[in-house]
């Protein structure tokens, strides 16, 4: 009979096996949006897990399913991770039922984050629509933490209504490193802040393009207005970074769902510069 | 005073009982089938002859195979199509499988809880786990037989005018045969148990009607015969059977020679019990009951005897099929105008389908007469006598007895109100 022994291949890593994490804390940030503090059960992973702002995890609950979710805590925070989850589908609804002490499962981190290292010494503008603030908050906190490495920080955050402004209790800390402006689509009469679209905040702060990088995350409808305004202000496409949302299943460029023309959003993205996606009309939809 | 029992439970479909009380005693009861009209006979008009078996099977989810086969037989008569013996045997198997499915459902899931003091087969599971397990296995066996031959357990697919689109593989038939043999002893045990149940003392002689075939216990062929000696072809009989439309009811009621009659397992056994040989015959003759018998409550026991018959007859048919070449050939069908009537024995009694086609093969006229509709008059007469003999009973006890009586007919309201 033939010999069944074969040459041993190099051990393969099984990308589809998630690691267990525990929920330490849950808090409601806005209607239908919750914030989770987690830590890995495995002490080695807990100590050594590293990532870049803008990268995401494949988060799952056993028996429910898996979804990509950006990490919203900064890479500088060791030992724990934070996620910000909006109730939208099967998994996120189930995540909203979690209590401290419950388990969830994660694999990753995946994708390319914001190239903060290349932005050293520059001013940073963060433009966030709605829950788009989550991945940016990771970068903001990182920049705040490494204050000396960056110039001035400007955070522009738009939301449906004042209730939906996220991380409001952190604005004071952020303001020590720069400026935070918010705007809402609609508001009750007692609202003293801005009402309108997010480009109004760009008009308000009127940023100079020199030595500045822009980091954007939000709903696709926001992109064309913001990018148009940035172009008018003279920003170069290579200095504008955007985090794209797509249907991502595998996270490793194999399942094909997240492709935007030639880009696997899960591998080359989710953060891409506008220069990279120039000419791809379907990218910013 | 009037009380209405909105839902007679553990039957197929929705029926209500309205009970008139005088000084706490029942003096009359009215049964009503409470389902909307689906108007199948109307909807079939303008359809292709080859669609009728598919559509007609949707009259009933409990006995779709017999509607399907009966429609096919009627269409083949209308179009003068003859089929090969393998096709006939597979069709017979489908009807017998339907009996296994339906009789198991009725006898053990719907009727037996009455006598074992349970509110459902589900709750029977704790005190009578063996019986429930056997019943579930038999149900599954019947389902699998229809699945293997018909392509699906409810609403078969493969059977069509002229034959079958797909013939079951030999191995699957052999597997069914094996399972039938294995399931036979427990099925006989349950049938014997059903024969020994303490049923109400009730007797009302009526007319019993069923297909009768001198060569076998009939279900697929034969003439329509009555316990009073009447016999005719299904074709002729269909024209003498009267269906009475009643005010505010979507179910019609059957009359033969102006009177109600009984069709179903009890009628078949009353007319053909001498042809029941083998295990089924043994159970029948070993039981404490003699036949012909006029106690309607015995219909459930008769179903379990037929369940055993269906199993042994299926084994015999499978052996015949396995002994020859398992191929069917669909004959050339020439579409033309014509009409055809067919009758088979559905689990609940004789089922008639009659169609008239135009020269394009479209249905211009049709009539479907279901056993539950045929039985309605007789059931009402039974209820009257049952109540009349027990006028001193407490209302609750009497109503429970009436429910059992209704259940013993195994009424299928979906069929009745098609």
């Amino acid at each position: 009979m033939p010999d069944k022994t074969r040459q041993k291949e190099a051990p393969l890593r099984n990308e589809y096996l998630p690691d267990q994490a525990l929920v330490l804390e849950v808090r409601e940030l806005a209607p239908g949006i919750r914030h989770f503090l987690l830590e890995f059960v495995d002490p080695v992973l807990r100590e050594n897990f590293s990532f870049c702002s803008g990268q995401f995890l494949q988060v799952s609950l056993l028996g429910i399913g898996e979804s990509p979710i950006s990490i919203c805590s900064p890479p500088t925070q060791k030992g724990s991770l934070e996620l910000c989850v909006r109730e939208a589908g099967n998994l996120t609804q189930a995540l909203h039922r979690l209590q401290p002490g419950d388990s969830l499962w994660v694999r990753g981190p995946y994708g390319q984050g914001f190239p903060l290292v290349e932005m050293a010494g520059q001013d940073l503008i963060f433009i966030a629509g709605g829950i788009g603030l989550a991945p940016l908050r990771s970068a903001i906190d990182c920049a705040v933490c490494l204050n000396d490495e960056f110039g001035e920080l400007t955070v522009l955050h738009g939301a449906r209504s004042p209730d939906f402004l996220l991380f409001t209790d952190e604005y004071e800390t952020w303001r020590q490193s720069g400026r935070v402006e918010t705007i809402v689509d609609e508001a009750p009469p007692d609202w003293r802040g801005q009402i309108g679209v997010i480009t109004a905040l760009l008009d308000l702060v009127n940023p100079a393009p020199e030595n500045t990088s822009v980091l954007i995350c939000g709903p696709p409808v926001m992109f064309s207005f913001v990018l148009g305004r940035l172009k008018e202000l003279g920003f170069d496409d290579s200095r504008i970074f955007i985090s794209l949302e797509r249907h991502m299943r595998c996270g490793v460029g194999k399942c094909e769902h997240c492709v935007v023309e030639s880009f696997y959003t899960c591998r080359q993205g989710p953060v891409l510069s506008i220069e990279q996606i120039r000419g791809i009309s379907s990218a910013l939809r | 005073m009037k009380i209405k029992l909105e839902h007679v439970t553990r039957i197929e479909g929705h029926a209500s009982l309205t009970v008139m009380l005088t000084e706490g005693k029942v003096h009359s009861v009215r049964l009503k089938y409470e389902e909307g009209a689906r108007l199948f006979e109307g909807l079939l008009r303008g359809r292709n002859f080859f669609d009728a078996p598919t559509i007609a099977s949707r009259i009933c989810g409990v006995c779709p195979s017999v509607h399907n086969i009966t429609a096919i037989k009627a269409m083949e008569q209308a179009l003068s199509v003859n089929v090969d013996p393998v096709t006939d045997k597979l069709r017979r198997l489908m009807i017998l499988a339907q009996w296994i499915q339906s009789h198991t459902l009725h006898a053990f899931f719907l009727a037996l809880p009455d006598y074992l003091g349970a509110e459902s087969a589900i709750s029977m599971a704790s005190e009578h786990p063996d019986e429930v397990e056997i019943a579930l296995a038999l149900k599954k066996l019947g389902n699998d037989m229809v699945y293997v031959i018909g392509g699906r357990a409810v609403h078969p697919i493969t059977s069509r005018v002229g034959g079958f689109s797909h013939v079951p593989p030999v191995t699957r038939l052999a597997d069914l045969r094996h399972r039938l043999e294995e399931a036979l002893p427990p099925a006989m045990r349950l049938a014997r148990l059903t024969g020994e149940l303490d049923i109400p003392d009730f007797s009302r002689k009526t007319t019993y009607l069923a297909l009768v075939d001198p060569d076998e216990y009939a279900y697929y062929t034969g003439e329509v015969c009555s316990s009073e000696g009447y016999c005719s072809t299904p074709d002729d009989f269909c024209s003498t059977l009267r269906e009475v439309v009643r005010p505010d009811s979507t179910a019609k009621a059957g009359l033969h020679e102006g009177r109600g009659f009984f069709t179903g397992a009890l009628a078949r056994i009353n007319l053909s019990h001498e042809l029941l040989t083998g295990s089924a015959g043994t159970i029948l003759r070993d039981s404490p009951h003699s036949f012909p018998n006029y106690n309607t409550f015995l219909n459930t026991f008769c179903q379990t005897v037929e369940l055993v018959y269906a199993m042994t007859e299926s084994v015999r048919l499978i052996d015949e099929l396995l002994a020859g070449d398992l191929v069917t050939k669909t004959p050339e069908i020439t579409v033309r105008a014509g009409s055809g009537v067919a009758a088979t024995e559905a689990p609940r009694g004789t089922l008639y389908h009659a169609y008239t086609l135009d020269d394009e093969g479209l249905i211009v006229d049709d009539n479907i007469i279901t056993p539950t509709a045929q039985n309605l008059t007789n059931l009402e007469d039974d209820i009257d006598q049952f109540v009349g003999q027990r006028h001193d009973w407490e209302a609750a006890r009497l109503i429970e007895g009436i429910e059992r009586l209704v259940r013993s007919y195994d009424p299928c309201v979906s069929c009745a109100t098609h």
Binding site: D3, L17, S60, L62, G63, A88, T92, R246, V259, S262 | -
Partner: protein, 368 residues
């Protein structure tokens, strides 16, 4: 198996099949130790079936294509990624003992490309465990009606692309225009001993027990000549051409005809996209995570939770199918992601022919 003098039943030969009694016996021997898949008949179709579940041990000489390509052996339509119970994950270990017999040249080539795709960047564990542990054996092909491997550059392979190759050239006389007559009918006695060519150590090991002579391969093995005038597409140019064609009218025209049924991708040897799904029983703490084939032609493919669909129109989805094959795979792996087998066209209810699509793309981007 109905064995005639030559070991090949008349009906096998008439339908372009080749069977050999020694081959059959050998495969049955192998099936004691391996999961052996061979092309066999099922309900009027040719499909890769496990030896032991079929007694029809015959090989198509490319008259009929299998419904699903050999990829199903290594990337099953449904597989368990892991099971879970009471908060613990139990990884599923894919079987690594599959032998697939009877791949045609284009399919061997597709297998190489699919494996390269699953290996590059982040390797796919489950596929590679199966594939690296598996053995593939090619078989000489005659051209299947509707195939066009010469156009996509998948018309030749080298011994490194297979473990074994069953060379049926001994059955002389058939060629690209052959109808099977030479091989069947009168010529059946000329179905000589096949030659085996080994392409790997595993193949050589296997061949040691084979009833056929093992020969040294020389040079590449080619699919039979295509019809005159058919030549390779400008594959290097196609990525740019496809990219430029985004939004062009040809895709809208295809969308008018396309039913979006997904047939083209399911039968493609180089389509591999998948989705995952969790399944639980009546006790919710026990279950499994499955991975299942998906299709980029389905409406929900790029839809995210909340309902936004990033590929809303059928024309866009069709463009993505072609861009994957002729743009992305060409750019990342250096080879077109279309083997030229013609299965997508064969199984397309709307008769969408990739050859016409590429001709149109070239035409449109030429400004014609």
């Amino acid at each position: 198996m109905d064995e005639t003098e030559s070991g090949t039943s008349a009906s096998d030969l008439a339908s372009g099949y080749y069977a050999h009694p020694d081959l059959g016996r050998w495969l049955l021997e192998l099936a004691a130790d391996y999961r052996v898949l061979v092309p066999a008949e099922k309900g009027g179709n040719r499909i890769f079936q496990e030896v032991g579940t079929t007694d029809a041990l015959c090989f198509g000489l490319a008259q009929d294509r299998t419904v699903l390509p050999a990829k199903k052996a290594f990337l099953p339509p449904e597989e368990v990624l892991f099971e879970f119970s009471a908060g613990r994950i139990l990884p599923a270990m894919p079987l690594d003992d599959t032998i697939v017999f009877g791949l045609h040249v284009c399919e061997l080539s597709a297998d190489r490309l699919l494996t390269a795709n699953m290996t590059h960047d982040r390797p796919d564990f489950h596929y590679l465990v199966r594939r690296n542990g598996g053995i593939i054996a090619g078989v000489s092909c005659r051209r299947t009606p509707g195939c066009f491997c010469e156009k996509t550059g998948h018309d030749q392979i080298v011994p490194g692309d297979f473990d074994l190759f069953l060379d049926l050239d001994g059955c002389s006389g058939w060629d690209s225009a052959g109808t099977g007559e030479q091989c069947g009918g009168k010529a059946k006695t000329s179905v000589a001993q096949p030659r085996l060519i080994a392409g790997s150590a595993a193949g050589r090991n296997l061949a040691a027990s084979a009833p056929f002579p093992l020969e040294n391969a020389t040079g590449a093995i080619r699919a039979p000549e295509a019809s005159a005038g058919s030549k390779t597409w400008p594959l290097d140019e196609l990525p740019a051409r496809i990219r430029d064609s985004f939004g062009a009218a040809i895709w809208d025209d295809l969308a008018v005809r396309c039913l979006g049924c997904g047939n083209c991708t399911i039968v493609c040897p180089l389509c591999y996209c998948f989705y995952t799904r969790d399944e639980t029983g009546l006790a919710p703490e026990t279950g499994r995570r499955l991975r299942l084939w998906d299709s980029c032609q389905l409406l929900a493919f790029a839809r995210v939770a909340g309902g936004h669909n990033f590929r809303e129109s059928r024309s866009e989805r069709i463009w993505y199918r072609f861009s994957h094959k002729f743009m992305r795979m060409q750019e990342t792996l250096g080879h077109a992601g279309c083997s030229g087998c013609g299965a997508c066209f064969h199984f397309c209810p709307a008769d969408i022919d990739p050859q016409q699509v590429i001709a149109d793309v070239l035409g449109v981007t030429d400004g014609a």
